[in-house]
């Protein structure tokens, strides 16, 4: 058996992912310790877990540096990577939506200004609608953009909608449902077939 390398998205998704792995019988005690380590060896399960920023998970999986990754669908939609997207893990659920000020009446304006952390998703969505847009890449609190008059609307992740509400914004349209996905390197899926099949099977059982 060979060691399987798993890349997890740091932060909230990692907590859910670690819970999932524990339920699959993987000893995650070292992962639950609060420290700054990024690489965790779990020799008893022949697994190595690496904590990464969301966008790096897909890059690491694509290049085969890790075999498996757990990452949000939003990241997969934003950057088309060469990898297998195998299982919907059904946690980290949210939506990616178009939102803006409550009384904004020009959603079908000729040229819409959009602030977003997801320029590709936003561009594809509006291009398919035939809407001409100017996309402004925005890191951090995107809600500010329409409030301060930087853009007409935003495209962002909406979980509870509380942040939007607190800032007087409303959802106009939903673009896609988001949840965490299990992604696999295209070569590892074949060369470590048995090792990966075992883990994937265990995970599928737990989430069903």
């Amino acid at each position: 058996m060979e060691t399987v390398k798993i890349g997890l998205t740091k932060g909230r998704l990692a907590e859910d992912a670690i819970n999932l792995l524990s339920k699959c019988g993987i000893n995650c005690s070292s992962l639950k310790e609060k420290n700054r380590k990024l690489v965790f060896d779990i020799p008893e399960n022949q697994i190595q877990v690496i904590l990464l920023k969301a966008v790096d998970v897909t890059t690491y999986v694509e290049h085969g540096v890790v075999d498996i990754g757990i990452v949000g669908k939003d990241v997969l939609l934003e950057q088309e990577k060469q990898l297998y997207e195998i299982v919907d893990l059904k946690f980290g659920k949210c939506k990616i939506s178009v939102a803006g000020k409550e009384n904004f009446s020009e959603v079908s304006k000729k040229h819409l200004r959009v602030a977003t952390k997801y320029p590709n998703i936003a561009k594809n969505y509006f291009v398919n609608k035939g809407q001409s847009v100017e996309i402004i890449k925005h890191e951090g609190s995107v809600e500010l953009a329409p409030l301060m008059g930087l853009t007409d609307v935003i495209v962002d992740i909406v979980e509870t909608g509380n942040t939007l509400k607190a800032n007087g914004l409303v959802i106009y349209e939903d673009i896609a449902d988001i949840s965490a996905r299990l992604v696999v390197n295209k070569v590892s899926y074949k060369t470590k077939k048995n090792e990966l099949a075992k883990i994937i099977e265990a995970i599928t059982k737990v989430i069903d």
Binding site: H63, D67, K81, Q82, E85, V87, V187, S188, K190, K192
Partner: protein
């Protein structure tokens, strides 16, 4: 603007000394193997007309091509693919050649990848194309070529994964989907996106048997025996049976060659290049999570150039092979004995005599262009010179051995 003077554009790279040695060694070995298997080398220009490429190809790839405009205003591209230009060459200049026509090449290709992440925009492909044979024997021939080339390079633990695009294409074409949906379906199968694939096929009008096959196909990969056994229990329609049989025959014949350990099957294998029509394959090794080679049958491509001719082939990505060999520690440098002659007496004649005798033996011989002793020593150490021959007295050179030279060692 200073940065543009010292930096390189994205996706291209300089190759320093060792990289060049390895590349040349690998490429020479590949070309030698191709030649021994009866392939003849050809070369196409770096520039081609944009219009060489078909509408379908451009639809998917035009954003990824480097374009230039020549003095007459024609749109040109840097070679984005080796197969299409060679197909053009065969259709226009080699039509009356004897068939099967077996060609090979080592050329640079240029592609713009939007998302960089270490992806190259210029890289070398070494490949073969086999024209004029439509039976599965030709598919076997090129797969064997791939296997033998990798073996010759000393690569271990590699797999050639074989698929049949005809199976998927026929299943999907029967569904009468919009072009966009077809594209999506291919994408889901290619990326084994079981989630979206299930969602999509259960929402379209499809007969139950085909639905089962379509959902199961991307999950069917592994050893040929296992795959074909599972396939037997599936409701494969008669029109698809020939495609499956082809694949079975290919695997059987490769096994008869004694290369069974190097192949596996993935029925969900889809290739980016739209021109493939039959058996397709990809090669990789456990040590490197990237594809080393890909290829397949493209029987319709030459029709773009007004010729009906079946064809199949594949290409290695040379730098991926280098990477894999490096990881497996199969790259060794064979260095010739290296001699430095220091002529302290300005004895041109004697120096040249000495030089010529060493050259004849095939050694690397240099006449020192440095005078200071420390500089000579530093140069010799850094260049790993084996022996320094000093002409201090006429007829009696003194020899300093810096590094014992063993035959064939580095």
């Amino acid at each position: 603007m200073v940065s543009k003077k010292v930096l390189l554009p994205e996706g291209v790279q300089d190759l320093l000394i060792d990289d060049c040695i390895y590349r040349r060694k690998i490429e020479n070995k590949l070309m030698e193997t191709f030649n021994q298997l009866g392939y003849m080398e050809v070369s196409t220009p770096t520039l081609e007309y944009y219009n060489l490429f078909s509408y379908d190809y451009l639809l998917k790839n035009s954003d990824k091509m480097f374009k230039l405009i020549d003095t007459k205003g024609s749109l040109l591209v840097l070679r984005p693919d080796c197969t299409i230009p060679i197909a053009r060459m065969v259709a226009t200049k080699m039509k009356d050649f004897v068939y099967p026509l077996k060609l090979c090449y080592i050329q640079n290709v240029f592609r713009i990848d939007e998302e960089q992440a270490g992806k190259k925009r210029e890289y070398r492909q070494a490949g073969v194309e086999l024209f004029g044979i439509d039976s599965y024997q030709a598919d076997v021939e090129v797969i064997i070529t791939a296997i033998e080339s990798l073996k010759e390079l000393g690569l271990e633990d590699f797999q050639i994964e074989i698929g049949q695009i005809k199976l998927i294409k026929e299943l999907i074409s029967k569904l009468n989907l919009s072009e966009e949906d077809e594209e999506k379906l291919f994408y889901y199968i290619e990326n084994k996106n079981f989630i979206d694939l299930d969602k999509m096929v259960t929402s379209i009008n499809i007969d139950e048997d085909d639905l089962e096959v379509l959902i199961k196909i991307p999950k069917l990969f592994g050893s040929p025996n296992m795959v074909f056994e599972t396939l037997q229990q599936m409701p494969i329609k008669d029109n698809l049976k020939a495609a499956v049989e082809d694949l079975q025959n290919v695997c059987k014949m490769v096994e008869q060659y004694g290369y069974g350990e190097y192949i596996s099957v993935d029925l969900g294998l889809v290739s980016r290049m739209g021109y493939y029509t039959g058996i397709i394959f990809k090669g990789y090794t456990k040590d490197l999570g990237e594809v080393l080679c890909s290829g397949g049958r493209y029987d319709k491509l030459l029709e773009d150039f007004g010729v009906t001719c079946s064809a199949t082939g594949f290409a290695f990505v040379v730098n991926k092979i280098t990477k894999a060999l490096k990881i497996q520690e199969k790259l060794e440098q064979i260095k010739q004995k290296h001699i430095l002659i220091v002529d302290n007496l300005q004895q041109q004649e004697e120096t040249i005599k000495l030089l010529k005798t060493f050259r004849k033996k095939g050694y690397i011989v240099e006449i020192s262009l440095l005078d200071k002793e420390e500089e000579i020593m530093e140069y010799s150490q850094k260049r790993r010179v084996n022996e320094i021959w000093r002409l201090n007295r006429v007829g009696e050179p003194t020899v300093t051995i810096l590094e014992e030279w063993k035959d064939g060692n580095c």
